[in-house]
């Protein structure tokens, strides 16, 4: 029997058991995440055809909702859990070779639990349970940011922790207020009764909850922690934080707004906030000289873009937003993984030190270029159809407000193009310094500087996915459409949970 609860229970059990495996053999530990996420990926893929038909609602403990915690495995939940499992699997394969120092066993436990928390957030149907899984996600990322034990890592972990902890307290106050108002914690049950209370008294919990979740989702005024944390974590963790953690935060925000509160009157504000986030992120990224900080700011920009697309709130807009989200997850994890090995080889994060990379590490540079082009939105790659859909969706809305905003979005894309081309140009076409750097490694030992095979496998799987979906975007349409309709149709959600 395939039950969505296995998606959470099995990785959790494996994480608890990992220290025991460690007693048997020191080398088993690093393969456990691979096994766990391969399992999750298979389960998620098996569940996709079922959830396209109708959402699966699982009650934990055998009581009926709203009296127990329930998991809602709808198209959105399974789409996200498949995405988490896929990226988790690829990054854990990458980490087999990449993580060589420090308390490795602890790294793998925390990594496994981080993604388990993320899976829990996207599957749960209970708001307090969402808080608990959110804390699992956040606390393991605080610890992983500090994993290297270097000055910058510790410092940014402290910043991240303080802001995250304030956010969680706000979230908890909001949940307390909701419980006081409705006497229940089940999201569908709250959603059903939300109209019985005057909008003014619902507004405060809404703001508190969005503030709390927004810290993790890096929405504009709350994202001060992100560039530091993402740039000083190990690259495999940066890939997960940029590729999974903030997207899951965004998912939670969107779920709260769309499903629980049904707050259609704040979409304009959210779209504005999204574009603001986009512009701030892209402009800061443009002025960076450190590659990981540049990628981190670019993540902020992309989150803004996704938030903008989702708050168009037509089925077209939401579909394009989810598509952009997937394309960002794949491209950004690819970029961080590729950049991780380049940093490892050069020992520096400064963009000028990547001169001549196209010769010294041709495969990795190629992968980086594919990721960058996809993120900018060039045609053969996955970023193109998603950005195209966003523009189409915003124009189809037909309001002046959205038309103006989409102009700003295109402006942001231009900036994005500018800084990514700068990096690519440095890697391939920089005449200076090639003799100084590339001469030794490149000529005497051709290919000897290339990343290891274990690390290249996941990188090229990501490249294949980006190109494949870019060429044939119809592949994703089915699941994206039903995911969008799940988000937009809250009555269907309520009905499927409460019966």
């Amino acid at each position: 029997m395939v039950s969505p609860v296995l998606l959470i229970a099995v990785p959790l059990g494996l994480a608890f058991a990992l220290p025991l495996f460690g007693l048997v053999s020191k080398r088993i530990g690093k393969y456990i995440p691979v096994v766990a996420f391969a399992f999750n990926l298979i389960i998620s893929l098996l569940l996709i055809p079922k959830v396209l038909d109708h959402s699966i609602v699982i009650s934990i403990g055998g009581f009926s909702p709203p009296f127990c915690i329930n998991l809602v495995a709808g198209p959105v939940g399974i789409l996200f859990s498949a995405l988490i499992a896929l990226v988790g699997l690829l990054v854990s394969i990458y980490a087999l070779d990449y993580i060589r120092e420090g308390p490795k066993e602890k790294y793998h436990i925390l990594y496994l639990l981080l993604l388990t928390g993320a899976t829990g957030v996207v599957l749960t149907g209970d708001i307090f349970n969402l808080f608990v899984f959110f804390e699992i996600l956040c606390i393991s990322s605080y610890a992983l940011v500090a994993y290297t034990g270097e000055k910058s890592g510790i410092e940014s972990a402290v910043k991240y922790l303080i802001q995250g902890a304030i956010g969680s307290s706000f979230l908890l106050i909001g949940i307390g207020l909701l419980y006081g108002l409705f006497g229940t914690l089940n999201m569908a049950d709250i959603a059903q009764n939300i109209t019985t209370i005057s909008p003014l008294s619902v507004f405060v919990p809404l703001v508190l909850i969005i503030t709390g979740l927004g810290v993790e989702a890096a929405i504009f005024p709350l994202n001060a922690w992100l560039p530091d944390a993402h740039s000083s974590a190990p690259s495999s963790i940066s890939a997960i934080l940029s590729g999974i953690a903030i997207e899951v935060g965004l998912y939670a925000v969107v779920r709260v707004i769309f499903t629980i509160f049904g707050a259609s009157n704040i979409f304009m504000f959210l779209a504005f906030l999204g574009v603001l986030t986009l512009l701030v992120g892209e402009l800061c990224a443009f002025s960076q000289n450190n590659i990981k900080r540049m990628l981190a700011y670019s993540s902020i920009g992309q989150i803004g873009l996704i938030l903008f697309a989702l708050s168009i709130a037509t089925s077209f807009g939401v579909t394009s937003g989810l598509f952009q989200l997937i394309s960002h997850v794949l491209a950004k994890s690819l970029l961080f993984l590729a950049a991780g090995y380049m940093i490892y080889r050069t020992g520096s994060m400064d963009i000028p030190s990547f001169e001549g990379m196209g010769k010294r590490m041709p495969l990795t540079s190629l992968a980086f270029t594919v990721g960058a082009f996809s993120l900018v939105g060039l045609p053969p790659f996955m970023g193109f159809p998603s950005k195209f859909l966003i523009v189409q969706g915003a124009l189809a809305k037909g309001s002046l407000f959205f038309t103006v905003l989409i102009g700003l979005v295109l402006f942001g894309t231009v900036i994005e193009g500018a800084y990514f081309f700068r990096v690519v140009q440095t890697m391939y076409f920089s005449a200076k310094g090639r003799s100084a750097f590339g001469g030794r490694g490149g000529k005497s030992n051709p290919g000897g500087n290339e990343a290891s095979v274990v690390a290249l496998i996941p990188v090229f799987i990501l490249v294949a996915l980006i190109v494949g979906i870019g060429v044939y975007p119809k592949f994703m349409t089915g699941i994206l459409d039903s995911a969008a309709s799940e988000l937009l149709n809250r009555f269907e959600y309520i009905r499927s949970v409460l019966g």
């Binding site: 229970a9 025991l20 009296f67 307090f128 393991s140 500090a146 008294s201 405060v204």
Partner: protein, 228 residues
């Protein structure tokens, strides 16, 4: 300046919360789910302590998440502090006086026993796995403070921690395989107010007690060891 801005910000938040609190009067029953638990909790779970029946049965999934959070904290703390493990302790601390030493040795088993009592009787009386686990951990704290130089073996806490976590997950999966629901209370409930009642609740709570105890003790151990 900073203070003024903070106070203004807090004032705005306070105003909003007061507005919303007007709808949540104090001391009036506003529950929907809670009333159901009070009415049905005893028959459905067999636990006399309704809070326990919620923590370990109705909302057991939260509890699973929560012990995971504590597990992460213990592991993360170990990871953050680990690079300093190489420094051996430089100076030996002066030993504790005989009175303190003997007193701690004498109190230690009693506190352990008290902690165990708390978590074994979690479904009957106030208290449970967290409280009992914390008490067990404080017994270890006493040993660290009173009988310097003694420490619990790290491998021991690790094994207990892992096994207890596994017991929780396995009990949940057994429920899934027997009744089709994760964490289903599949054992006979027995008569309320008896020690051997309430199905899986005592088992899970004992596992939680061990896990919380060993994790908190591990956290203290890590910090103390680093601080020497």
């Amino acid at each position: 300046m900073r203070k003024i801005i903070s106070i203004v910000l807090l004032g705005i938040v306070a105003l909003g919360i007061i507005l919303s609190l007007a709808r949540i009067p104090f001391g009036v029953s506003k529950t929907k789910v809670g009333g159901y638990y009070i009415d049905k909790g005893r028959e459905e779970t067999g636990a006399a302590n309704i809070v326990t029946s919620i923590v370990v049965n109705y909302r057991a999934f939260d509890t699973l998440g929560e012990i995971t959070v504590l597990f992460i904290a213990a592991v993360g703390l170990g990871a953050v502090l680990s690079t300093r493990k190489k420094h051996k302790r430089e100076q030996d601390l002066e030993p504790a006086s005989l009175v303190l030493y003997t007193g701690c040795r004498f109190l230690f088993p009693l506190i352990l026993l008290f902690g165990a009592y708390i978590f074994i009787h979690g479904h009957l009386t106030p208290g449970g796995g967290f409280q009992g686990g914390a008490i067990v951990a404080s017994a270890y704290l006493l040993i660290y403070l009173g009988c310097r130089g003694r420490r619990i073996p790290e491998a021991g806490t690790k094994v207990i921690e892992s096994l207890a976590g596994l017991v929780f997950v396995v009990v949940g999966l057994l429920g899934l395989s027997f009744g089709g629901y994760f964490l289903l209370n599949f054992l006979p409930k027995g008569t309320p107010n008896v020690l051997f009642s309430a199905g899986i609740i005592p088992i899970v709570y004992i596992a939680i007690g061990f896990k919380v105890g060993s994790e908190l003790a591990g956290i203290i151990d890590n910090l103390m060891e680093e601080s020497r």
